[in-house]
Subunit: 222 residues, 2 copies
DNA sequence: ATTGACAAGATTGTCAACAATCCTGTTACC
DNA sequence: GGTAACAGGATTGTTGACAATCTTGTCAAT
């Protein structure tokens, strides 16, 4: 018998690891992704790398040109906003569905995250806030139980992790973010579909506004 | 110089052709897709077929199991509804954006499609209605100019073409569909973002209701 | 200094062969 | 009759080699 844990499924595993390398910042936007290098880096062969790149291309994380290989896709500012808007629509849908399906245990979990968020905000730990942020959205998606939309959101988020991280650092954004999330949790816990969807919509409106501000100030900070 | 027209880009071309074969009904859900067969069918080699299958897997059109190859993915009834709900959110967003960006020429084009729809409905041509339906949604997406969301919608629709086609055939659905589309076009032409989004939302609510009815009656008709 | 042709290296695209695994029908056994 | 081991074919996974193409650096001519 072979070891199953480290290599459960080569294909998806390699695409997933490559995705993490890209979203994690190991490769910069527009950086060339050379098949042979990736193969040795990931401990596999070029054929698998090629398939992983094809999947990530389909996913929108890399672009490929014939005979010119793959690059990390550079998402323009306009595109980042488009993506965030799409996210707003889908997250609102999911929040509403979560309100319809929330259980007693779910309510506890959601409130726990909000409490941790408040604490992290009080101590000014932006990284932790960012992590709790992701955890809360993931929890809401889990409660909603809509795997299709969850998958869509996953790919959307992976394309703009960098921009989003910058946005939370803007002055005053963290406080608003915590308040908005609290409103979302309240609405979901009440089982109020429309209110939950609206609260989520408003929240991501805030994210988009912050994103636009971050883009406007980009020339100065970078 | 080589001929460019027939083989502009092998990779995407092959994935696209395979996608059309699947959505076009050439392969049934759950049917096994054998790499060697597809290679000879599409006039290429297994490596390219493999990459195309990887992309279509990422896209959700096929499923693959290690050492067991690829199959046309069978979307469950529950999933079909999830997909339609996601579509509702995104189409509403796009309709609203179209209302903000509609031009004089766009208005003419939209109204022309509605007129053709009414005519097709009067003569009971369901296939034509279905085509005009697709044309209208495509036109709205073009006007909105949101390529990101348009791409998402494209992949969503490709997963449920079959179910959707069945839904339009339900008694009374075609009439309602025409009316709903007319309301959408009216709102867009007025430049009313919220009204356009709501009209589109209502329209796809109708689609979803029809889809649910079609699913409920499936055992009898199939 | 700039441009263009050219060669050398790097990288991707294609293909075929082989290995590993799965699937199916057969046979032996109870 | 039913079931389990088994063999053979079918299919997928992996590898390596080669061809095709792009990229970069060099050098000569102006």
């Amino acid at each position: 018998m072979k070891a199953i844990a480290p290599e459960h499924d080569g294909r998806h595993d390699i695409a997933a690891r490559l995705r993490e390398l890209i979203t994690g910042g190991r490769f910069m936007p527009n950086e060339r992704l050379i098949e042979a290098d990736l193969a040795s880096l990931l401990g596999t062969n070029r054929a698998n790398v090629r398939m992983a790149l094809a999947m990530l291309d389909q996913e929108g994380l890399v672009t490929r040109e014939r005979n010119r290989g793959a690059r990390v896709r550079l998402v323009s500012d306009a595109e980042a906003i488009e993506i965030a808007e799409a996210r707003r629509s889908l997250e609102s849908l999911v929040a509403g569905q979560a309100a319809l399906r929330v259980s007693k245990a779910d309510r506890v979990a959601l409130r726990k995250i909000i409490a941790a968020m408040r604490k992290a905000h009080a101590s000014g730990d932006f990284l932790l806030i960012s992590q709790l942020n992701a955890a809360l959205h993931a929890e809401i998606q889990r409660i909603a139980g809509n795997a299709t939309v969850a998958r869509l959101l996953e790919t959307l988020k992976s394309q703009i992790v960098r921009q989003q991280y910058r946005a939370i650092l803007l002055p005053g954004r963290a406080r608003n973010s915590v308040q908005e999330h609290a409103a979302i949790v309240t609405a979901i816990c009440e089982g109020n579909e429309r209110a939950a969807a609206k609260a989520m919509h408003r929240h991501i409106d805030g994210v988009i506004a912050a994103l636009k501000r971050a883009i406007a100030h980009k020339g100065e900070t970078v």
